[in-house]
């Protein structure tokens, strides 16, 4: 198992380093972890680069297990037409965006996409309420009541919706996020 990582060709590794914010070790580790998700007969390097892993498997990795946005994350990073599987490159993209060194811009860009539940390019009220529900979980006592939710969303829109169109678009979102001191340090996932 341990050897599988080192079988990535040198050129490919260099290219991946160019294209991601990951170091060589991290890429190799990512590849190793990715291969562990594949069935044993597909673990050769070539196949592992081609193979796609279903979202369910990706969701099972411990780093994502507890994340309330795990489905969204997978869907955003998946390039398959049905958005239900990830290739190794998608996986690398995902790790790159969530790595230490990724720029705040790209982080906030992807955060926006993750929060954009209906993929329509803006965060509208439904997106926001879904987002809050994800954060608070499904428990009876933790879930916000309808009035609380309304108040919350009103406040959020009031703060961030610069053009007052009732939705938050990417630039508004990035504007807000870029002011946040915590975002870049918490929007991270480390293998």
């Amino acid at each position: 198992m341990g050897g599988s990582g080192s079988r990535l060709s040198k050129e490919l590794l260099i290219e991946y380093q160019d294209l991601t914010f990951l170091t060589k070790q991290e890429i190799l580790l990512a590849h190793k972890r990715f291969c562990e998700l594949l069935s044993p007969e597909h673990r050769s390097t070539e196949e592992s680069l081609q193979a796609r892993v279903s979202i369910q498997q990706i969701l099972s990795i411990p780093e994502l297990k507890a994340n309330p946005f795990k489905e969204r994350i997978c869907r955003v990073f998946s390039t398959s037409p049905t958005r239900d599987s990830m290739s190794f490159e998608d996986f690398l993209d995902f790790l790159s965006v969530f790595s230490d060194t990724a720029t705040p811009e790209i982080k906030s860009h992807y955060a926006f996409r993750i929060f954009d539940f209906d993929d329509d390019g803006t965060l509208n009220r439904e997106d926001l309420s879904q987002l809050v529900n994800c954060l608070t979980g499904e428990g009876e006592d933790t879930r916000l009541s309808a009035s609380e939710m309304k108040q919350l969303i009103d406040n959020i829109l009031e703060e961030s919706d610069i053009d007052r169109d009732g939705t938050i678009n990417l630039s508004e979102f990035q504007h807000v996020i870029s002011r946040s001191p915590d975002f870049a340090s918490s929007f991270k996932i480390v293998l």
Partner: protein
């Protein structure tokens, strides 16, 4: 050259644009990128262009990771870019090739080094693991610990390399002098455990402490100045710590500068930035969720009722009580420490043999206080009922005060003791002096000793030191002369009086005991509690895990404070115990492993979220505060107290810092001494201080003004944004109207329109408006963009030529192209050129501006469009002589173009098609008024000049009779020109004029005038595929409209004339369309138009 620049601009444009693009676009967009690269790769020969191209590709490669594209696409782009670079780099000069190769090599090396360094970052994986379990807050503690570890390593190296190792290698060996020898009566107990434990015995007389270091000014063969080095290193420790701390703080504050000012996004942050994505542990996730819910609810509550005034009196009373309690406990702890130090001192004096407890009670008490008091504060804080964050801050402040109080009371007590020791020593000195005097032998010896030994009764210390030296040198001589009893007494008292060693011992002891207590508390409070809770929970009568003992929390703030406190001890003691940093390194390593183990096994994260980044500078500022306060006592001791007479590198001096002046005097040339003397005189120092004050004041005022300008800029941004918003809102309204209108007008197209709706809806967003939207539209984006972009690199004329080239026999000049086909050819073609020419400069300018500019391309194309459509319509024209119908043809032409065009003009390139028809519609009405053929080939120039030229042309050529088509053709253009030129002076007016004109024509439909822009480029590009082209134009209208709107708004100053021109043309172009449905109106409008033309002329 020009094309390349244009393309560059366009590219940079695109690059900017791509960042704000919607992600859906990015993929398609990059397709265009690819094709762009490809065609770019094909046609450049100019080295400058190649260079720019390569530069661009390199930029692309450097920044590609910052683009939000999927990996496959990035890979493609990267490979292509590399290919291009590889392919073209060879064509450039060789040096550039070498440069590139060197850069490549350097990059590789850097990456290798980067990869290599990662391996050596200590505990990286461990910290990441913790981070992924407990989030960034807990990890920040460990990162802070690691950073402190780094500092301590440097301090250790400094003291080790410059003090400890030279002393060990070149200094006098152990036992050679009195200060390096264990006194006789202690030798027996020197290896006892309790002696070692209290750092006595061998440890006391080792390199660990100040007292061991020799007083020789130079040691070893190389003449290493150990005392000087000792002093300088002692200062350098502080200097280095200050510098590194301030540097780090500056870096942090630079990063958090943006966030520092306005805290007005509380809700957004609580939701968008709430989740810590590093959390992978379900338990941690649960508590995090709870924390988030709490914070959200809190925020909502706060919002709902800003302040609850209920029970205010009770709360205030409670708070007062709490504060009193805290103050009491602070005072108590300080008194306790002082008392303990005092007691131990007395005990030492009164008792010969001290018990283990008595020896260590100071450090034990201090450690106990530092451990217990924070918990007490915690309990007290519960009384206060503050907001949790406020509670945390209070708690931190109190704990910090406590720690500082402890350290200070300890050091003050110690210094007090030192003071009394000095007095005692002085008393003893007199004693010794007398004693020495009695022994004539010693007296003579001392007289021989030179300068120190001149017997001065007042300064006992000097006598004392000489005495010690002699005693060490010739103990055999002393023995016979004095009673053994007396000698031992003296030796002991003399050696014990090394107060620096004593302070160092206490500090080291404190540090050790602190370490033990930390370990004990981790084991007891965290580990065993965790064990008990986990395994006894099932058998207990209540739920241990969730109610009373629970699992230990990892209290980040307290733990960080503990680290700060620990570091403070090190700084305080480092001067007196050079090995303290080394010890601290070991301690930190142990702490790192123990803590990380404890956190991973038996802790749950703190409920109160204490975020890493927000706290970073907070930790550091506490550390800085600590450093400053810990430096004070040391400096005070150095400045205030006399160094011990019998031990240490500075023995025999009046003050420790005398070593510097002494060295300057004796070892530097005299001029240096005088210079230093001047520099240190008040004459220099006072002005220097004044200067510093002035500098501080100046910098502060600069900072203030910067803050002000920062504020103003922020306001400006807000204003700009609100203006943007207004524009966007207007556009949205307009679009909605348009869409309503267009659906009414073109029912059959409605389905396509609908397709375009969602995408057009996106253009609402202020930053992504215009072309973004455009790109968004569902179908074959790549193609479309290509069509837009392609003409760009080429000069407009060239582009035109390429369009025109399909015509047979048109090889040489454009004017001549046409004659072959049309009688009117020359004029028409020049007209073409004029049209294009006059606009192209604008377009290029536009590129510079921003995304909005793109629509101008369309304008550009648009102009050519009329020509494209002419032929088809002109055919009709012949049949339909009515002015009405001629207009109709324009529309028809378009619709009809798709279907009929191939059939009608199979051999003819469609680019010419429009000319006839547009002209036609005018020909009837306008012919008489406008008989000008703009037939001369005007050498293409800048737009305005051309306009003028054109105008002149009109006046000149108006007499020339031309064929129908020509005439018709010409007015069409001139209408635009007319309005443009007419309105040159007051652009706003002219604008309005145009608009009102539009309104007049067709009230509700006025916006859609832009609608037709888009289709044309399509025609221009794909003349051969009319059907396909057809299909596209249809669903575009709303989009293009918005584009051009934005273009107009953004570029109106420069291009007002063009805009108008366009508008006019569009008007004409689109009227026909509406004409199909609203024949009447159209007719009227046409009438107006012609009237207008007339009046203009």
């Amino acid at each position: 050259m020009k094309p390349s620049k244009a393309s560059q601009r366009y590219r940079s444009n695109r690059r900017n644009a791509s960042q704000s693009y919607f992600y859906q676009d990015s993929l398609r967009f990059s397709n265009s990128d690819d094709s762009f690269n490809a065609d770019e790769a094909g046609d450049s020969n100019d080295p400058e262009q190649i260079f720019q191209n390569i530069q661009f590709q390199k930029d692309l490669m450097a920044n590609i990771r910052c683009r939000p594209w999927p990996m496959g696409q990035k890979l493609r782009v990267l490979r292509r870019a590399k290919e291009v670079v590889l392919k073209f780099e060879g064509r450039l000069t060789r040096t550039r090739g070498y440069q590139a190769a060197g850069a490549e090599l350097w990059r590789k090396l850097a990456r290798l080094a980067c990869n290599f360094v990662v391996i050596f970052i200590p505990w990286e994986m461990r910290i990441k693991k913790i981070e992924s379990h407990f989030g960034s807050g807990v990890a920040s503690y460990f990162i802070f610990l690691r950073w402190l570890f780094g500092i301590n390593i440097v301090l250790t190296i400094m003291t080790g390399a410059f003090i400890v190792i030279p002393e060990l290698i070149a200094g006098q060996p152990f036992g050679s002098t009195a200060s390096k020898t264990i006194p006789k009566e202690h030798v027996a107990s020197a290896q006892d455990l309790d002696t070692v434990w209290s750092l006595g015995g061998y440890l006391q007389y080792s390199v660990l402490f100040y007292g061991y270091y020799g007083r020789e000014r130079r040691i070893g063969r190389a003449g290493y100045r150990l005392p000087l080095a000792y002093f300088l290193v002692g200062m350098a420790v502080f200097a280095y710590s200050f510098i590194i701390l301030l540097k780090k703080m500056a870096k942090n504050s630079r990063m958090s500068l943006a966030s520092a000012s306005n805290e007005n996004y509380t809700f957004c942050w609580r939701v968008f930035c709430a989740w810590d994505y590093l959390i992978g542990n379900p338990e941690a996730a649960e508590s995090k969720t709870a924390a988030i819910v709490n914070s959200i609810r809190e925020a909502i509550l706060e919002e709902q009722e800003k302040k609850k005034n209920k029970n205010l009196a009770v709360t205030i009373c409670l708070r007062i009580i709490a504060n009193i309690l805290v103050l009491l406990s602070l005072a108590g702890s300080i008194y306790l420490i002082y008392f303990v130090v005092d007691r131990s001192q007395k005990l030492e004096q009164s008792k010969k043999e001290l018990t283990l407890w008595e020896k260590n009670e100071v450090s034990v008490v201090v450690s106990l206080v530092t451990m217990l008091a924070p918990s007490a504060f915690d309990l007290i804080a519960a009384l206060e009922m503050y907001h949790p964050r406020t509670t945390l801050r209070f708690q931190l402040a109190r704990v910090l005060v406590l720690y500082l109080g402890n350290l200070y009371s300890l050091i003050i007590a110690l210094l007090d003791k030192v003071n009394s020791m000095n007095i005692e020593e002085a008393a003893q000195k007199n004693n010794t002096h007398r004693w020495v005097d009695t022994t004539t032998f010693f007296a003579t010896r001392t007289a021989l000793e030179g300068k120190w030994s001149t017997p001065r009764p007042g300064l006992g210390l000097q006598r004392n030191s000489t005495w010690v030296l002699e005693e060490a040198g010739a103990p055999t001589l002393v023995m016979p002369l004095t009673e053994a009893n007396r000698t031992t007494l003296h030796t002991q008292s003399v050696q014990d009086q090394c107060w620096e060693t004593y302070v160092g011992q206490e500090m080291l002891k404190l540090s050790i005991i602190d370490m033990l207590f930390t370990v004990a508390s981790i084991l007891l409070i965290d580990f065993f509690r965790g064990l008990v809770v986990r395994y006894l929970s099932d058998y207990w009568c209540w739920d241990l895990e969730s109610t009373f003992p629970e699992y230990g929390e990892f209290k980040i703030a307290e733990n960080v404070l503990h680290l700060v406190y620990n570091q403070g001890m090190i700084w305080m003691g480092a001067f007196f115990s050079p090995c303290l940093p080394a010890f601290n390194v070991l301690k930190l390593i142990g702490l790192m492993y123990l803590r990380s183990w404890a956190v991973l096994t038996c802790n749950v994260p703190h409920q109160q979220v204490f975020r890493a980044s927000r706290s970073n500078n907070f930790y550091l500022s506490m550390l800085l505060f600590m450093l400053f306060l810990c430096m004070l006592p040391t400096i005070f001791a150095i400045v205030r107290y006399k160094p011990s007479v019998n031990c240490g590198p500075f023995s025999g001096q009046e003050k420790i810092y005398d070593i510097v002046s002494e060295t300057i005097e004796s070892d530097f040339p005299t001029w240096f001494g005088t210079v230093v003397g001047y520099i240190s005189s008040p004459v220099v120092i006072l002005p220097a201080v004044l200067l510093l004050f002035m500098l501080i004041y100046y910098l502060q005022s600069i900072a203030r003004s910067l803050k002000l300008s920062n504020h103003q800029l922020k306001m400006q941004i807000q204003n700009a944004r609100s203006e943007d918003k207004k524009k966007v809102a207007q556009m949205v309204e307009a679009r909605i109207q348009t869409q309503e209108g267009s659906t009414k007008r073109l029912p059959k197209d409605s389905d396509i329109d609908i397709v375009s709706h969602p995408s057009s809806a996106r253009s609402i967003t202020p930053q992504n408006n215009g072309n973004v939207v455009n790109l968004d539209s569902p179908s074959s984006k790549g193609d479309r963009i290509e069509t837009i972009t392609q003409p760009m690199p080429q000069s407009p004329g060239a582009g035109h030529r390429s369009l025109g080239s399909p015509l047979p026999g048109v090889s040489t000049s454009r004017q001549e192209q046409n004659p072959h086909r049309y009688p009117c050819g020359p004029s028409a073609s020049t007209g073409d050129i004029h049209g294009n020419r006059s606009f192209t400069p604008m377009t290029f300018k536009e590129h510079l501006e921003n995304i909005h500019s793109e629509p101008l391309f369309r304008k550009y194309f648009q102009q050519s469009n009329p020509h494209l459509h002419r032929p088809g319509t002109s055919v009709f024209m012949a049949r339909g002589p009515h002015p009405h119908t001629s207009k109709y043809y324009v529309t028809n032409e378009r619709d009809f173009h798709k279907k009929s065009h191939p059939a009608f003009w199979p051999e003819r390139p469609p680019r010419r098609d429009a000319s006839g028809d547009v002209v036609a519609m005018y020909s009837r009405n306008v012919r008489r008024y406008v008989p000008w053929p703009p037939c001369q080939a005007h050498s293409p120039q800048l737009s305005e000049e051309e306009e003028e030229m054109l105008r002149r042309d009109w006046s000149k050529k108006s007499l020339h009779p031309l064929s129908l088509t020509d005439l018709r053709w010409a007015p069409h253009f001139y209408v635009g020109e007319m309005s443009g030129s007419q309105s040159l002076a007051p652009e706003g007016q002219s604008r309005r004029h145009c608009k009102s004109w539009n309104d007049g024509f067709e009230g509700p439909l006025d916006r859609p005038m832009y609608v037709h822009k888009k289709p044309r480029p399509r025609h221009a590009q794909h003349p051969r595929h009319p059907l396909k082209a057809r299909a596209k134009p249809r669903f575009e209208p709303s989009l293009t409209e918005s584009d051009s709107m934005s273009a107009a708004s953004s570029s109106d100053q420069q291009n007002s004339s063009t805009d108008q021109y366009l508008q006019v043309i569009h008007r004409q172009a689109r009227m026909p369309r509406s004409a199909g449905h609203l024949g009447r109106r159209k007719a009227k409008s046409r009438q107006n138009l012609s009237d207008l033309v007339c009046s203009n002329v």
